[in-house]
């Protein structure tokens, strides 16, 4: 089987031969393992090697892209010709094109994105992990009678990028994850919760016991939940759901959305938009981070970017194209044909989550939301939520079937407490934080 770099170079050469003026190709070969346990049984076992090639071609300033899993030479040639043909119907855009020059491909020394223990860990041990997660959540409390399954899995990937400017880069990356979704029986209701851990390798994963305990405690904790009253109050976002809020904020910092007028932060550069506790960082070189890589999807070296500094908006996050449109350099955030996070996070504070709760006289703690934002233009935020009512600095009772609503800009400005519990278990991660006031809609 050809090496990924060889396939990427072949695609670039074919694109130029078909009439492209510039071309770039990324080839990924990934070995994936996944298993699901239910009760005492492994119900699913998946193991595969997948290959994918993505190509961008430019005919002058006209861009077209290709994604294909047919990596035979004939198949690839036919697809590349088709995409170069399609590019001829695209309008000329003076900003479109590869980066200005080919950076030297950085060695990935010190990035720690390939963990040897992923390839070494025996399949039997991984299956045992899944079975342990199932056993442990059921052992936690008699009310846990079922589960939506324990999932374990890992990936070993080789990635290569070549472009017609002469850039050649390759690296290896690994990842592993484990999660479980226990269900507690609460009278006629079923209370489901989920919790998981993900990292570059097994050594950095939370133990199965710890994952199971957190998940089980959440499911049992929701027993007896009721609808809260409609009110304006402080809202504490526990770290998982805090990361979801950050991903909505990331959309507004995505330069493609800014350039399209599709961001509530579009005209706010240089302004103070957040509270002094709101420092947001995108770091593509964080050792061991799940969003860490030596270079981005365009071969631009990754870097650490302070996006929001103590509430002041310093920069958006750019790829080459949107950087040119808005007069800025790429921040190394090109990803999958658009702009994506590397390791995007809120700088942690020093309090614990318990201290945030203790400092809240009357409010809500959220650990789960459902729904998604559609109002990127205005920043309007509204989600279904579950969590706890807080009274006099304590978790008073579990609550569900309500929404929290506000505006992302007001939420950024309203962050008045930040915990220190940041864990980089995703490319967007956050410590728990509190927003001074939002609307809770219940009964």
């Amino acid at each position: 089987m050809p090496e990924p770099l060889e396939l990427a170079e072949f695609a670039v050469a074919e694109a130029l031969a078909a009439g492209a003026s510039q071309a770039e190709a990324t080839c990924t070969i990934a070995e994936r393992f996944g298993a699901e346990a239910r009760g005492p049984r492994i119900e699913k076992l998946e193991q595969s090697t997948g290959r994918a090639l993505s190509v961008r071609v430019f005919v002058g300033g006209a861009k077209a892209s290709l994604g294909t899993s047919d990596l035979t030479r004939e198949g690839l040639r036919a697809c590349v010709r088709q995409v170069v043909d399609a590019a001829r119907f695209v309008a000329d855009d003076p900003h479109a094109g590869l980066p200005d020059s080919a950076a030297a491909a950085d060695a990935d020394d010190g990035l720690q994105i390939y963990a040897e223990d992923v390839a070494r860990r025996a399949a039997e041990d991984k299956l045992e992990d899944a079975l342990s997660l199932e056993a442990d959540v059921r052992a936690y409390d008699a009310r846990i009678v079922n589960s939506s399954g324990a999932h374990v899995g890992d990936t070993l990937a080789r990635i290569a990028l070549a472009n017609s400017l002469g850039f050649r880069g390759t690296y290896r990356a690994s990842s592993a994850h484990r999660s479980v979704g226990p269900i507690a029986q609460d009278g006629a209701n079923k209370r489901v919760a989920g919790y998981g851990s993900a990292a570059r390798g097994y050594a950095a994963l939370e133990s199965t016991q710890s994952v199971a305990t957190t998940a089980a405690a959440r499911a049992v904790g929701m027993c007896g939940a009721r609808k809260p009253q409609t009110m304006r109050c402080p809202v504490i976002f526990e770290r998982d759901v805090a990361a979801h809020v950050l991903s909505d904020i990331f959309s507004a910092l995505n330069a493609a959305n800014v350039a399209a007028g599709n961001s509530f932060l579009a005209d706010k550069l240089g302004q103070t938009v957040g509270s002094p506790l709101a420092t947001l960082i995108d770091d593509g070189r964080l050792p061991g981070g799940l969003g860490t890589s030596p270079f981005d999807a365009e071969g631009v070296p990754t870097r650490r970017t302070v996006v929001l500094e103590a509430g002041t908006l310093r920069t958006f996050l750019y790829d080459t194209y949107n950087g040119r449109r808005l007069g800025a350099a790429s921040t190394g955030n090109a990803s999958g044909g658009g702009i994506g996070p590397n390791n995007f996070f809120l700088e942690p504070g020093s309090d614990s989550l318990e201290e945030l709760i203790a400092a809240t006289r009357r409010g809500v703690l959220i650990y789960d939301t459902i729904g998604f934002s559609t109002e990127s233009v205005t920043g309007t935020y509204s989600r279904g939520a579950r969590g706890f009512a807080i009274e006099n600095g304590e978790r008073a009772y579990p609550i569900d079937e309500f929404t929290i609503a506000g505006n992302l800009l007001e939420m950024l400005a309203g962050i008045d407490r930040v915990a220190g519990d940041l864990v980089f278990d995703s490319s967007i991660a956050s410590p728990s934080f509190r927003v001074a006031e939002m609307t809770v809609s219940g009964s």
Binding site: N262, T378, G384, S441, S443
Partner: protein, 466 residues
């Protein structure tokens, strides 16, 4: 496609191992997309997904492996990995022998036997027309983005039980997003399409779709913040079907019910909704986005009665879950691609018409919310809690639609809400065909539909507290 009956037979025999059932799913899906931004064609894309997924079932266990390398040697190696799940089982003596050509699935799609192969200029012209129409319909329109996509998915399904079938599925979509500037910036989206060729847009024109997107953006740019609290809610015909899809449909998928994790588990024959409520799921509506001549396990698409006058009648099943629950597949086994296992999924989910008129329903509400259309929704299966985001909504005051509202979501509990259906309109229709459903990380095209429906009480999650 060079994989013939003999090759599939070898693959299946290797995959079967000591298991009781094996299948192989070949897919070749070619899609072309064009995107328009700022009045110009901004980007073109070609996507080809091609490979084989191989599955082995042994009791409640499923082994799975896929490959995009279609050499027989790699396919047989992949089949052996799939069979690992069944290594404890008894060795089999009978073997699989498929003969002849794969059978063609029955016709189910409007047109579109072409291989996503219209001239590029055809797609470009559709987008340009949408752009012009959106801008011409409202001077407040500031931004128009539009896309058109055309795909053909060719599948061959072969099973150890001797099923050997092929299907060729077209799918087109055209969507327009507008931003209008009024007292606030307002978003509007509209899309349509279906299992048809690109000729679909000769009758359902890009101009119609674009004007509808512009109209919604125009409404939203003068919308006020939605109120918070509990209200009577009237859900508009068409995209209100998202409510059925989320609040009930997912809970009736066979996997959740086999595992007993759905709140509807073990409740067939019980009253689960107001007797005004019937819910069907249908894979056989010609040309609809969620229709399938055969599902991804080779079972023909079917019309399923899920709820009839409030009584739960049945679940949607794929092969694995049907077998373990002692029933037959309902043709609901779907998968995003050859890289993932099939799951029981919805096709086109809708509620048949009731007896009230739209005017009677809206006229009966003194103070409430009209949810004209939804941008999407999400449900938690075990307890049934859901949330829906409104794309277009209004206050109802004294039986009339008044102020447009923005930023609202509806939240509640599926079975509770279905018991609060107090009026059902005679205006049932399917929504614009652009919905995609996500489950376990797999996305598949679906259809939804509903008549105008009144709900006696729903929590509206706005930010304006009265």
């Amino acid at each position: 496609m060079h994989l013939d009956a003999a090759a599939f037979s070898q693959i299946l025999n290797r995959a079967l191992g000591a298991g009781e059932y094996a299948d192989a799913f070949y897919e070749r899906r070619l899609a072309r997309t064009f995107r328009l931004q700022e009045g110009k064609i901004h980007e073109a894309g070609v996507s080809l997904v091609c490979g084989v997924g191989i599955r082995t079932i042994s009791g409640e266990r499923a082994g799975y492996a896929y490959t995009d390398d279609l050499s027989l040697e790699t396919l047989l190696r992949t089949a052996r990995v799939s069979a690992l799940i069944a290594r404890d089982g008894a060795a089999r003596v009978d073997s699989v022998e498929l003969l002849g050509e794969a059978a063609e699935a029955p016709p189910m799609y409007e047109t579109g036997t072409q291989d996503a192969g219209a001239e590029s200029a055809t797609y470009v012209d559709l987008l340009a027309r949408a752009d012009v129409a959106a801008r011409a319909s409202d001077p407040r329109i500031r931004t128009v983005n539009a896309f058109v996509s055309d795909e053909t998915q060719e599948v061959v399904i072969a099973t150890s039980e001797g099923l050997f079938v092929r299907d060729r599925r077209p799918l087109v979509a055209l969507g327009v997003q507008c931003v209008a500037q009024g007292s606030v910036r307002g978003n509007g989206f509209q899309g349509d399409g279906g299992r048809a060729g690109i000729d679909f847009f000769a009758t359902r024109t890009p101009e119609e779709i674009a004007r509808e997107a512009a109209r919604i953006a125009g409404v939203n740019c003068e919308a006020r913040e939605a109120p918070a609290g509990e209200f009577e809610v009237v859900v508009g015909a068409g995209s209100g079907g998202v409510l059925l899809h989320e609040a009930v449909g997912h809970g009736l998928e066979g996997d959740f019910n086999r595992h007993g994790t759905s709140l509807y588990s073990g409740r067939v024959g019980e009253r689960v909704a107001s007797e005004l409520v019937s819910i069907y799921d249908d894979g056989n509506l010609p040309g609809e986005r969620g229709s399938l001549a055969v599902d991804d396990e080779g079972t023909p698409g079917q019309h399923k009665v899920l709820v009839e006058r409030g009584v739960l009648r049945g679940y949607m099943q794929d092969r694995l879950n049907a077998g373990l629950m002692g029933v037959t597949s309902t043709g609901s086994g779907r998968r995003q691609s050859f890289r993932v296992l099939p799951q029981p999924r919805m096709c086109n989910t809708y509620m048949p018409p009731g007896e009230s008129t739209y005017d009677e329903i809206v006229g009966s509400v003194k103070k409430g919310i009209f949810a004209a259309s939804f941008a999407g929704g999400q449900v938690e299966i075990s307890k049934g809690d859901f949330v829906f985001m409104l794309a277009e909504g209004y206050l109802i005051e004294d039986g009339k639609l008044t102020t447009p509202i923005r930023g609202a979501s509806l939240t509640g509990n599926g079975p509770e809400i279905m018991n609060r259906v107090t009026m059902v309109g005679n205006d049932a229709r399917l929504a614009g065909r652009y919905y995609t459903c996500g489950k376990g990380g797999q996305y598949v095209p679906v259809g939804v539909g509903m008549p105008t429906v009144k709900l006696s009480r729903v929590t509206v999650g706005g930010s304006a507290v009265a």
